[in-house]
Homo-oligomer: 527 residues x 2
Amino acid sequence: MITGKNFLGSELSAKGNKTYKTFNPQLNIENNSVFYEANEEEVNQAVQMASKAFQTYKDFSGNKRAHFLRLIGNEIEELGDELIKMYCTESGLPEGRALGERGRTIGQLNSFANLLEKGDWVDAVIDTANPERIPAPKEDIRRMNKPIGPVVVFGASNFPLAFSTAGGDTASALAAGCPVIVKSHPMHAGTSELVASAIISAAKKSNIPNGVFSHLNSSGFEVGQALVSHPLVKAVGFTGSYAGGKALFDLASKRPDPIPVFAEMGSVNPVIVLPSSLKAKSHLWAKAYANSIALGAGQFCTNPGLILALENENLNDFCSELSIQMNEIQASCMLHPNIEMKFSKDRNAMLKESHVKPLYQAPDQKNTNFARQTIATVKGQDFLHNKNLHHEVFGPFSMVVRCESEAVLISILKVLEGQLTGTILADEAELSSNHEIISLLSDKVGRIIFNSVPTGVEVCHAMVHGGPFPATTDGRFTSVGTSAIQRWVRPVCYQNWPNNLLPDELKNENPLGIYRVVNNSLTSSKI
Amino acid sequence: MITGKNFLGSELSAKGNKTYKTFNPQLNIENNSVFYEANEEEVNQAVQMASKAFQTYKDFSGNKRAHFLRLIGNEIEELGDELIKMYCTESGLPEGRALGERGRTIGQLNSFANLLEKGDWVDAVIDTANPERIPAPKEDIRRMNKPIGPVVVFGASNFPLAFSTAGGDTASALAAGCPVIVKSHPMHAGTSELVASAIISAAKKSNIPNGVFSHLNSSGFEVGQALVSHPLVKAVGFTGSYAGGKALFDLASKRPDPIPVFAEMGSVNPVIVLPSSLKAKSHLWAKAYANSIALGAGQFCTNPGLILALENENLNDFCSELSIQMNEIQASCMLHPNIEMKFSKDRNAMLKESHVKPLYQAPDQKNTNFARQTIATVKGQDFLHNKNLHHEVFGPFSMVVRCESEAVLISILKVLEGQLTGTILADEAELSSNHEIISLLSDKVGRIIFNSVPTGVEVCHAMVHGGPFPATTDGRFTSVGTSAIQRWVRPVCYQNWPNNLLPDELKNENPLGIYRVVNNSLTSSKI
């Protein structure tokens, strides 16, 4: 049962006057439930509760926090069909995707639970004392990562589960020991409320302090702005548009005490097709890329929106093959009329830029909110000199750039902005003989891929889902994979501290049996 | 021989019209050498060279970079007496301090060389492929830290060697694989030029690409602002005042592509004296703290500027003992007339704030530029409600706050801003029974110290010389110790990449023999 209310800790609250509903893009109708936008008082209460809860939650052991995360996963599973139906109703995405994303979300929670149980993630470093040192004695110094405080998480439109209420940002922040206040995404407020109820239920069952998790509804900007500006909020996680992410970053930078904003804002994910792949593997790559471009109606931050190839006789074959393959794929429903409208507008604007030609356009769609998947093409020199063509079209759209020479390709790589991913389709000999291209591309991306597609972000330890600005506001961190926890911590150092009063992670006895750097040697032994 | 010119890579350059001289505060006269302020063209040329050099320097092996760092140390040593004399002439600091700081500087360079030779610092993480995984195969994903690009380093006034031209910022950035452009501090431009010449000489001897290091003179703001705004600059290191650091942070945040600024801006470094220490160890701590407050004329970012104690009969003893001990210490020369003037002004302003009383004031100094070391005192409630008293007075000044109750002490801790350090003087029983005080203090600091003084920042692996804003602009990093290298890198992830084309750090064979996390297990074995 959807209440439409906010969770201030475990308490339901609906003090504001503004309400809104979600939308079913497949049926093109509003859904029934009414959601109550959080008001200023509720925002402040949620943050105050988070700040208070932090004082105890920060000292919870890794095992206790792990138990909480696993319980959240169980509680999400327990929501059963109700969650899956709500997800589909609010997103227009198919049931298979809903099930997959739920699995991914629970998997993420469990992967952070494993990380906590293992315990090494705190990066404990110990330099023991040397009282005999000349000219001055050396004191004992020990360091570990500690949580920074209340974190605000913005749900993403395109992943109602895995990048939203209990998604990677929330899971990693709770794992780090930070309370979380979620600003739910207005397009899937019902899905978000269900997941929030699962988190609250898990918190109660595992005796987590009330206020470690709160959930606020919002259809506008005010709630998000109030949260990011609140003096007790210490960091922000966001996945969405450049405009949204950059606005939050600017707001946070202008605070009297600036705080970090980890905004993942998408990119065009350039793909470089070298000649051997055009010649020998046109069909293979055309098919793989048609599927990657159209996957999830193109609504992925890793969607390959830019294909850079050298002009030669095989490029025409690749292009026609790509068109044929795109034509094989049925158009699909976008997340919301507003998203489809923005896609149409941006797609049309791209096609109207000088020298840009359509390579493939799906026919006008009979079904409302379905996307006309599109491939455009342009010459390298024209792309190079028109910055408008470098921007992302969020949806099933890609641009094939026909580079007149390797020099043009290199010039393009030099001016490209920061990206989440960059891909090279080539044979190994070509890869090894194109050092400059690889080197330039790797400076621009968080993840560099050989002979594959950028969509499908593996949740694993080595993953970097991040990249230089404007792909994200902080390319030093990832928002997917276990390293995402590093966003919510800072190192704290203990000098000359009595052993029995140190955190367990730093005690001589190493009661947690974790790996530590002791006097410059990595060891899991006691001291 | 001082030329007064800028180094654009290895080339000396003096294209600008503006010149300036340094000052000898002990003799209260200008020094002879004339320094040529870098102009816009020189700024741009230095950055362009750095950006070009980055393309090769970033791929230099750890061993090669280590060799370069060790050579820099040798070349600094080779400067011999000329450097030590120049240091004293430009800073007014005694020869012993110059020698100590030179040792520290060379030690830092060598500690980063050791780190590079060991190689583990890149945090290599490998998740191998699983082609049989259902429903989709898992591709091979590997990650390591890579340098971010050209870094600008601002020399600090108070450490002409260890936090300046070849100091921790420069050493860590060069270690990471980033070219460095130093904006030298105008108060010790000659010292800076000598050290720059040593770096250039080391670069030549170790075949480091020209442009990996440049050195620009500047007595105003323009050069620094132009550097921080330059599109090819990727990060900034700074140690100095809040006003200076915050201005650079704001400038960098407003760039079209914001870049990180690691500004260490000092703090008041609160010290909490619990009752047992007042009773049993008044003399010990009064002496230790008098020395710590006066050390280096109080010109340290870790200077203990705030002593918080509970009002009781023993506090008077501690205060008189502190006065006696302060009186034993000879006043010393500050770095520059401007610094002494600022100290005098801030000290006088503090003493004029309502309810603040002087506890000890050194007599008026006959020697120009010598500081009147001062201890003030105020009641807890008065301190709590007057934010003016929370600010740093840079120099030999400290404020004893007489807290009327534990509740007042706790209220003060709650409103204190972020700090580099926080110290507790107590016995162990008191430490363990004051959980709330410790917990609040540790949330505000980078380093928490038991029964010691905050001055004397050990260069070691576990050190955190950092802390929440406004102690620094990014409390997630340290500027002292080997972890300082983490400020200049970002993770880059390779997906499905051919083994023989991976960086050595990520190859199956593990040719460097470094520790890596392979499929979630830490190992130095090959795969």
